[in-house]
Structure formats: structure tokens, C-alpha cells
Symmetry: C2
Amino acid sequence: MTLGAVSVTIPPRRALVDDVYDALLSLLMDQEIAPGARLSIDGVARQLDVSPTPVREALTRLEAEGLVLREARKGYTAAELLDAEGLDQLYELRILLEPRAARLATARLDAAARGELAAQLRGMRQAAASDGAEAGFRNYRDFAERDAAFHHTIARASGNPLLADAITRLRSHVHLYRLYFQHGIADDTADEHAAILTALEAGDADAAELAMRTHLETSRARLVPRADEAAE
Amino acid sequence: MTLGAVSVTIPPRRALVDDVYDALLSLLMDQEIAPGARLSIDGVARQLDVSPTPVREALTRLEAEGLVLREARKGYTAAELLDAEGLDQLYELRILLEPRAARLATARLDAAARGELAAQLRGMRQAAASDGAEAGFRNYRDFAERDAAFHHTIARASGNPLLADAITRLRSHVHLYRLYFQHGIADDTADEHAAILTALEAGDADAAELAMRTHLETSRARLVPRADEAAE
DNA sequence: TCTAGCTATTTCCTATAGGATCTACGAACA
DNA sequence: TGTTCGTAGATCCTATAGGAAATAGCTAGA
């Protein structure tokens, strides 16, 4: 039996280290592990009921993304929250990378990616709308995850995997969500995302690049001062 | 006893995983581990005479840098050489990031960094000069390492650690050195680096940014076509 | 000749255990 | 009172072992 090109793909096999990674990431985002907190390998292993070996690997991966810090023979600590300066630097980098990704993606956007983007945008609107009362955290986390997915879809569509990786590895939404969690600093940007999608669908590279840049610069201008206040 | 600010710093503690990482990196650069080759965890452990645990961690770190690929429950493989397209994409990203780093570094360059840059430049000239016969590989590796150090010093001097990390993590010199090793594709760029340093020392941000961009664009124009030929 | 299924081997993955290192605490001394 | 030293505890680090999964090779049957 031979198959032609098929569209279904088998999801990659997972090992325990992948689950530990996800669990730690979630704990970090919701600050059940506080910024700056110590992360003992054995402690995490006991808490998650696994052995230290996969925990070490998950922490190694998190360290490569800057979400935890390692000091050899000392241990790991959760990364501190971004201060105003750090947030500003994060945006500086995003503004360097993501408008270019949007430009490149314009010519290469296929139907599948277009569909993803539209769905992610709908998801953002939903999360923002159902913003009733104390469900806020949960909803904003949903929103942040859709937001991240939207940006990552564009990054991948750029066709430059190194560029996509650089963008993804910044873990922007983790940092932004942690700030929201701590200080209530948030940002509803569904409309700005819609503008990006419109430009992409129109196949207008200049407009797509500009829309992305505008979106990020607006966010920066909105968020950085608030992070500054929060520090007081 | 209290000390004021001291300039000496204790080197960070090292664990076995750090040595394994260095060893693997070296083996990858010199293609003692060939591009695309399988990397069995137990095999590496036996070869380096350590246990599999630190090997796993070192491989996790290498994977985060894109130098090896992991497939869960299958194993690791060494990353393939960059083809012409990949090389082009690497330069695209560098041209996005590094000119900005040079611009930012202009205002913040201190005496220590200036000294480092000058030393690295001298090192490059030395390695290029002692280019006698079959010592070529070794010399070019020295050259590539000085080249990398030069760029990383500027990246750090930018004052934006995220930007510095993004530049460093590309591991440009590893990819370039592997290409040289395989195809003899090399590049003597000491003079272009001198131009960057001159602009930095003059405190001219525009010139520094431009010199860095020119350097990278020249390299791209020189190297990408050759990678294309090598593939034939 | 080709396919299906079984077996054996290799390799990854996870858990466990012990040695090495670091931190914290408290006693002894100046 | 303040400093030094030594001990105890916790934690990291490395090695080892066994279970689980994947690959390769072989046999049997169509």
C-alpha cells in the first residue's frame, strides 16, 4: 500500500518531560510559582509526583527560554517579572522582528493559515466579551493565549523558521500575562489584530508590516508607563 | 568585614552537564559528529565516559539552540548544514538584529568592552595571517570564534539582554564554521570589523549601524551564492 | 515475489540511590 | 557584641537499573 501526500499528521510523541514542562509553565503563568521563587528540583518532582530526572530536563528547557534561572549547584529560580525597562526592551525586539514577519507572511499566506488567524481572532473577541467579573483572570489568560497563537501563526507563515523561532522564544504572552496577573496591566487589542488580518488578506505587504508595527507600538505606549507606575 | 564594589568576580560553578555541552558543541563544529547523524544518548555517554543523565540535559540545551533535533522516543540527530536558503535566512535575521545592537552599543560602550573588541580584532588578524597550509581548519576555527566574540560583545553592550540573547542564540559562527568545514566556504572580514570598531569608538551611532549592516550584507552576498554552488 | 506478523535487540525513558556541595544554625572565642 | 568555626540538614548532581517503546530482521503464508 502506498499513499500519496496526505494532510493528516500524527501528533508528535510525548514524554513525561513534555508534561512537566507544560505544568511548570502553567504554574509560572498563574504565579502559583511566584516570580523570583526558588524551584527545588526534588520539590517540584514530589509536587508533580514524578522523579527528578524529567524535572531537570524541563527546567533546562525553561532556562533556555529565560523563564527560570539556573545557578550550578545552587538551583533554579523563577524569572522575575519584567519591569518597565524590561518590558520596553521586549517590545523593542518584537518591533524589530514581527513587522518583518508580517511583511514576509503576506506573500506566503495559505488558506489554512488564513483560517487559523480568523479563528484566533474570533477567540480573542470571545474571551474579551465574556469578561464577566471574577472570571477575569481565566478569560484574560485565554485571550493572551489566542493573542500568542495569532502572532505565532504569522511568524511561522513568514517562511523563515529562524525568524519564527526568535519570535516564539520570546514568550511574550507569558511575560505579559504575568504582569496582568500581578498588576492588572492588560490590553484589549482585538481590533488591531483585525487590521493586521485585513492587510494580510488583501495581500498588501506594506500595510501588513505597518499594521503590525502600529499594533506593537501602541501596546508599548499603553503598557510601559503602567508598568512604571506599578513599580512606583 | 565589608567590601566595597569589587571588580573581580568568581567564575560560575560548573557541573558535568556544562562540560558535556562544550564537548558536544566542539564535536558538532568539527563534524566529528556529522550533520544529520544520529546521536544516541547512551552512545554519547559511553564515548564521553559519563552517565546518560548529564548527556540528556546537554542535548536538551543544544536542542533549544537548534543544533540538534529531538524526536520523543526516537532520539536526537545533529542539525543539517544550512543550505543556501537557510544561510540567507540566517543573514536576514542577523541584519535585522545586529545593526540595531551596534547602534545601541555606541552610546553605552565602556572602556572594558572597547578593550575586548580591540583584542578580538587583533585575534582575528592573527588567525587570518597565520593561515599557513593545513593549519587552515584550526586557524579558521580560531578566527570564527573571535568573530563570534566580537559580535557578542557588541550585542551585550547594546544594553538590551533580550536582544543580546537573540543574537547569541543564533549560533551564527557554529553554522558558518560547519559550512567552511564542509565546503571551504570562508570569509576574511577583519577589515569590515575594524570599520565597525572605528565607528563605535567615534561614538557615531549611524555609522556603527551602517558599518554592521554593510558587513553583514557583504558577507551574505559573498557566502550565499557559494553555498548555492556547493549544493549544485 | 510480496505482505503480514512475530521475535529480538537496541535505545529511550523514568525512577532510585548515594556522593558532593551548599546553606543555615549555633556554640565558642575574642 | 561581633566574628569564626564546626556541624547538621537540605539540595543538587551523577550513576545505575529496569520497564517501555521503537526498529530491524526473520519466518511463514498468499
